[in-house]
């Protein structure tokens, strides 16, 4: 397959990009609003072309554990789900993080808690960026704001996951998953035939047996392992922070928003500027590692930051930690599947400016 321009839903773009990125396997379970990923892959039937395995599991729990098994073989494997399903996957995700395995997990977020709604939300930020399951760990978290990025972040997610031997997550939402936009798809990559030295692929006489586990009953060794993980996360914070800035050069007030909220903040920014408010926007592309350093720098020259999220206020805590009291920080959010309008964001910015 050559480079190609197509009109696609965000979910479909993820599925097609996975095939083209040379993924070895996808394991999923249907849940709205992301079932198109599994449906698209089943219809595309990549097993017959690239050899990519696609399997509908009996549950999200089974699906993430299939990912665990595949990742332990050094294969490029992924799963996708939406909020309630991602909660079910947390056990598997913490084992994968604990066993230091690369994989890609897609969360097309819907409103919660509980069964919640099937409409878009950003209320899984804490779960995605602070670990999600038990134990001290982090995922690499990428936040796409377009269908193009849904496609691009599949390969980026896999690359980062393998670079750090750490699970990566695409944290999207029902709006980006369902909306259609044009998207440039990359040419088909061949699936890798490389046998990774740590992978469980059968023990040849030339090496010791490989054991993939997250268990260590010796507390001293377990703590050394925890320290190793922390060092890995610090390295990500040094090297992998990605963000985008809009009109920050002369900004007096800064929106901080990701994904769908960042798109509507771009419009809110124009509306605010038209009213003479010098607004800017910082869009974190990686939610972990978070652009702490850049926000701290910007805090020296803005009068305040407004975190706009489709949640009760989650990312705003990371903004506050980043600026560490240097400037005022507030939050504006809608919940339950409601998407704020640019106009209401500007109104909220105005009342924030008034103090």
């Amino acid at each position: 397959m050559e480079k190609e321009l197509r009109l696609m839903k965000g979910n479909e773009a993820i599925a097609e990009a996975a095939i083209r990125a040379g993924a070895d396997g996808y394991f999923g379970y249907p849940i709205t609003p992301q079932s198109e990923i599994l449906e698209y892959l089943m219809e595309a039937n990549p097993q017959a072309t690239t050899g990519m395995v696609v399997l509908q599991a009996e549950s999200e729990v089974a699906a993430i554990n299939m990912v665990y098994g595949g990742a332990a073989c050094g294969k490029k494997v992924m799963t996708s789900s939406s909020s309630p399903g991602i909660s079910l996957k947390q056990e598997g995700i913490t084992y994968i993080a604990g066993a230091e395995l690369p994989c890609l997990i897609v969360n097309v977020v819907r409103g919660g808690p509980g069964l919640g709604t099937i409409q878009p939300a950003q209320s899984d930020y804490f779960q995605a960026t602070k670990g999600g399951g038990h134990g001290d760990y982090h995922l690499i978290v990428l936040a796409p704001a377009s269908v193009q990025e849904m496609a691009d972040f599949v390969e980026l997610g896999f690359d980062l996951a393998f670079k750090y031997r750490n699970p990566a997550m695409i944290l999207s939402d029902g709006a980006i998953g369902q909306m259609m936009e044009k998207v440039w798809l990359k040419p088909q990559k061949k699936r890798s035939e490389e046998i990774l030295p740590w992978a469980t692929t059968g023990k040849p006489a030339t090496r010791e047996r490989n054991i993939i586990t997250s268990l260590d009953l010796d507390p001293e060794r377990q703590e050394r392992f925890n320290l190793k993980l922390i060092a890995k996360y610090r390295e990500m914070e040094e090297k992998e922070v990605r963000f985008e800035e809009f009109m920050t050069e002369d900004a007096e007030y800064l929106f901080v928003a990701y994904g769908t909220s960042a798109r509507l903040c771009q419009k809110a920014l124009q509306l605010a500027r038209a009213e003479g408010i010098k607004a800017g926007l910082l869009r974190p592309v990686t939610l972990f590692p978070f652009p702490k350093k850049r926000l701290n720098e910007l805090a020296d020259r803005v009068k305040g930051m407004l975190a706009v999220e489709m949640s009760a206020g989650q990312m705003v805590e990371d903004v506050m930690l980043s600026v560490n009291g240097k400037t005022r920080v507030s939050h504006y959010g809608r919940m339950g599947g409601m998407i704020p309008t640019p106009e209401e964001v500007v109104e909220n910015l105005k009342s924030f400016i008034k103090g």
């Binding site: 729990v61 098994g69 054991i211």
Partner: protein
């Protein structure tokens, strides 16, 4: 007879059963008299004799055999409680030329992992599922398992398993035998030399069927738990023969057409 010494007994010509070359020298953590060690050795012998070391991936459970990877010299993945068949599914689908087995206890396979067990067998994944059934949670200290016999005492059924409140023991081998995806389902034991030989035969069949892509092979080993049952090894074997075997009869439950 009284003149026979220890050194007379351990002469090579007297050695009928020995440790497989695939068994490591690590000291086993299993309690004296437990069936796990024997089951491990039989499996290791089969892997060795069939020349499978280079293409075997084993999946260990959570439970007494969680550290199985310390004892058999093949590549291993350590699953979460109940999830071994899901890992094995992916391993086999992604690398169909490998020999893939899971090794699980009763809590793992028949309680928390029931869905994975049923659906892996139902899809007919080309793997071997080894199921050690001793009717108790050994590692956590002797709690009631899904396979605990009616009336049997455990730390969470201290007055005996009351089936009206706690349900009846579940016969997983019989259940999975009903699914079209399973190719070979058998129930064996390791309490006698004859039992060990039969289990070895069963394992060799499972290797053959997996090589022929014939579907899921499910081998249950009815075993003892001296510590969990609060018995000596000899007592526990006697109790197993008198109580477990009538409820979980040994023998083939499903065999493929030759």
């Amino acid at each position: 007879m009284a003149d026979i010494t220890f050194n007379d007994i351990i002469k090579p010509e007297n050695l009928t059963y020995k440790k497989s070359k695939l068994m490591t020298d690590n000291v086993m953590h299993y309690c004296p008299g437990c069936g796990h060690g024997t089951a491990h050795n039989v499996l290791a012998e089969v892997l060795e004799e069939e020349g499978l070391q280079e293409r075997t991936v084993g999946i260990t459970p959570v439970g007494c055999s969680v550290l199985m990877y310390n004892y058999i010299d093949v590549d291993f993945q350590e699953a979460a409680h109940g999830r071994a068949p899901a890992l094995a599914t992916a391993v086999k689908r992604l690398m169909p030329d490998k020999f893939v087995f899971t090794y699980q206890g009763d809590g793992d396979l028949a309680a928390i992992g029931t869905a994975e067990t049923i659906h892996t067998c139902n899809r007919g994944e080309n793997i071997l599922m080894l199921f050690i059934n001793n009717g108790i949670y050994g590692m956590t200290g002797g709690q009631m398992a899904p396979t605990t016999l009616p009336g049997m005492k455990s730390s969470t059924s201290p007055y005996g398993r009351d089936v009206s409140m706690m349900g009846s023991p579940i016969k997983m081998a019989d259940i999975v035998a009903m699914l079209p995806g399973t190719c070979y389902v058998t129930r064996q034991s390791v309490n006698t030399a004859a039992g060990v030989r039969k289990l070895k035969k069963a394992l060799k069949k499972a290797v053959q069927y997996q090589n022929e892509n014939r579907g899921t092979c499910f081998i249950e080993v009815v075993s003892n738990c001296p510590s969990g049952w609060k018995m000596t090894p000899v007592e526990s074997n006697k109790w197993m023969e008198e109580n477990m075997f009538p409820f979980y009869p040994l023998g083939d439950i499903k065999v493929p057409a030759e």
